[in-house]
Symmetry: C2
Subunit: 338 residues, 2 copies
DNA sequence: ACGCCGTATGTGAACGGTCACATTGGGCTG
DNA sequence: CAGCCCAATGTGACCGTTCACATACGGCGT
């Protein structure tokens, strides 16, 4: 991007000062609206600022205060619904607090690309970091790195105290209980990738709820979040067909499952009940509309910023990991006919 | 976020210089790997940098060079599939070129929030801007503002030369032609919001293709991109049912339509054929798998950065707006039984 | 042996703000 | 009316880097 060498530098506080007939320090005071400023002076300076279309130089300010007012987001798979929603919410919450947001998406989940991404953010002199990359591997890499910046992860392993998340276990239990209460006893769980914290938690919630109701659980199937996988997993599963319900760890896989179930000429929920997770906007228009667990990603993002900016949630507000998801019952689940 | 006052400032080039026994300027030279440096000196300095975990201060560099190496993205509805994918691609392409990316999402489409968002980015001293907010209104606001930063929009009105987009008209014609060739003559178009450039272009493509085949087109229905709207529009439409096919301006609305069609006890594609637009990952698992138009958002993002960084695509490469979408025929379309 | 050139390095100033401190000029108190 | 305080403003230094220019030094041609 060729910078225009003819265009001289932007006006500085000294330019403003000269035209307003005050010292640069007074201009600085107007910028930081400090007290002890005569209203008249202030207005005059502001007038000149407007005339010159003056903009404070962030670099200069940052240099002297060593504060960047920038928050970094490190994110994996940010084009998925959950992460994308969180990012949007974080970005808005941060902006409301006068912070800038810088997002970096991970190319891979190997240590090297994590470090590269992190370095990129640290080069930006970020003051805080929100980590959305929800893989166990990424998470561990962080803790090993012992970062100098405060950070918050949007998923919790239970051990860390700067973690914040929707309670995945509770959500999974909600979904599982729903199926059990409908009379299902042969329930499969289509889990997310083993490497993902949330997948792990949902699987854990599923198994816990099952055992508490004395229902024998078969081993969960590890998927990759895609509808594609759900479809093929469904096809495999249906060759034996020793189940009446499936709890899928996200909505996309549930969609693929439903596709496979219909391909096999079976009815949902007549023959097979299906529950998803996330409540993506499309879920209520799937065929049939999908029973699923809704997570409030917006709230999550907002709380992340709050936690970050208040340095560890010492406000004693609602418990950091206390976002409880909600079961949305639609038409993909019904009583077991067995 | 309380900054730690006990932690002293990060090491500067002077610290490095002192320990390496050279002047700060030499350190600076190492940083910018300028020629005329003895290999030995260079290595010694780099060693010290590593030891101190030295990181160049971006603010200082930015202050003196007045280059921020930051690109701004102004985006609306960034949690939707298309924008989200583009953002990811842009971000990666920019990072590969050593640029940072700063994304701002618009709260609304009124002039004030556009200006606020833009100001936020300009405060960052961005060197370039990618605009993904695809509303006509937003687009016009930009041109009126006559920005001092180079920018690229990811949609084109045909008048601007810093626009770059997938050829929406071509895509819409592809979809429409497909329906006509299947024998459909009563085709509705469920368009996007009137305010959106892409919605407009797709509508235009639809109407053009229809008239070229001498098929009479009914007035398009203006939607809002959501599955929800598609559902209700479908319900309304089916009360009269004077059509055999619908071309929906995106996949979500197509999903809602299919929902409504099934609710009415009709078959897809037996009774009604449906075509979408975007090819979101879920589309191939809809019931039935959706015939749609695929856009390569990744390519779009990469080209945007290329255009921005090369100052207007004077490379004479492939024509700026030359990304041609592709029709993906699946099972939601069939021959007209009429 | 002298000047010259090119390579490797050093020095001072500037970028545009903020901070700490100094300076002015009333108005109030005693 | 002296003394003081406070409100309002100004001055110098500094943040960490790059730029323009200055310097040191060895080799080479004459």
């Amino acid at each position: 991007m060729p910078s225009d060498p003819t265009r001289s530098r932007a006006p500085s506080i000294r330019d403003v000062a000269r035209l307003a007939g005050v010292s640069y320090q007074t201009v600085s005071r107007v910028l930081n609206d400090s007290p002890n400023l005569r209203e008249e002076t202030k207005l005059r300076v502001q007038q000149v600022m407007d005339d010159l279309q003056y903009r404070p130089n962030r670099a200069a300010r940052m240099l002297v205060t060593s504060r960047s007012r920038t928050i970094g987001i490190l994110s994996a798979s940010s084009s998925q619904y959950g992460p994308a929603s969180s990012i949007t919410a974080i970005e808005q919450a941060a902006r409301a607090e006068g912070y800038f947001v810088n997002t970096v998406n991970l190319d891979g989940s190997d240590r090297e690309s994590i470090e590269r991404a992190l370095n990129h953010l640290l080069d930006q002199a970020i003051e805080g970091l929100v980590v959305i990359a929800p893989q166990v591997r990424v998470f561990n890499t962080f803790t090993q790195m012992n970062l100098s910046v405060p950070f918050v992860t949007l998923q919790s392993t239970g051990t860390s105290d700067h973690a914040l998340s929707v309670d995945q276990i509770a959500g999974a239990r909600l979904a599982t209980r729903h199926l059990i209460e409908l009379g299902h006893r042969n329930i499969y769980h289509l889990a997310g990738p083993q490497d993902w914290i949330e997948a792990e938690a949902r699987m854990h919630g599923f198994l816990t709820e099952m055992s508490e109701h004395d229902v024998v659980a078969t081993a969960p199937i590890l998927g990759d979040w895609t509808a594609e996988f759900g479809y093929f997993a469904g096809r495999e599963l249906l060759r034996v067909r020793d189940f009446t319900a499936i709890f899928s760890s996200n909505d996309q896989m549930a969609l693929g499952l439903m596709h496979a179930v219909r391909d096999a000429g079976l009815d949902i929920p007549g023959d097979i009940s299906i529950v998803g997770f996330d409540d993506i906007p499309e879920a209520r228009h799937f065929w049939p509309p999908l029973t699923t667990v809704r997570q409030d990603f917006g709230e999550l993002g907002r709380r992340a910023i709050e936690l970050l900016l208040n340095g560890g949630g010492q406000l004693g507000g609602p418990s950091p990991s206390g976002i409880i998801p909600e079961l949305i019952v639609r038409q993909s689940t019904g009583t077991s006919r067995f």
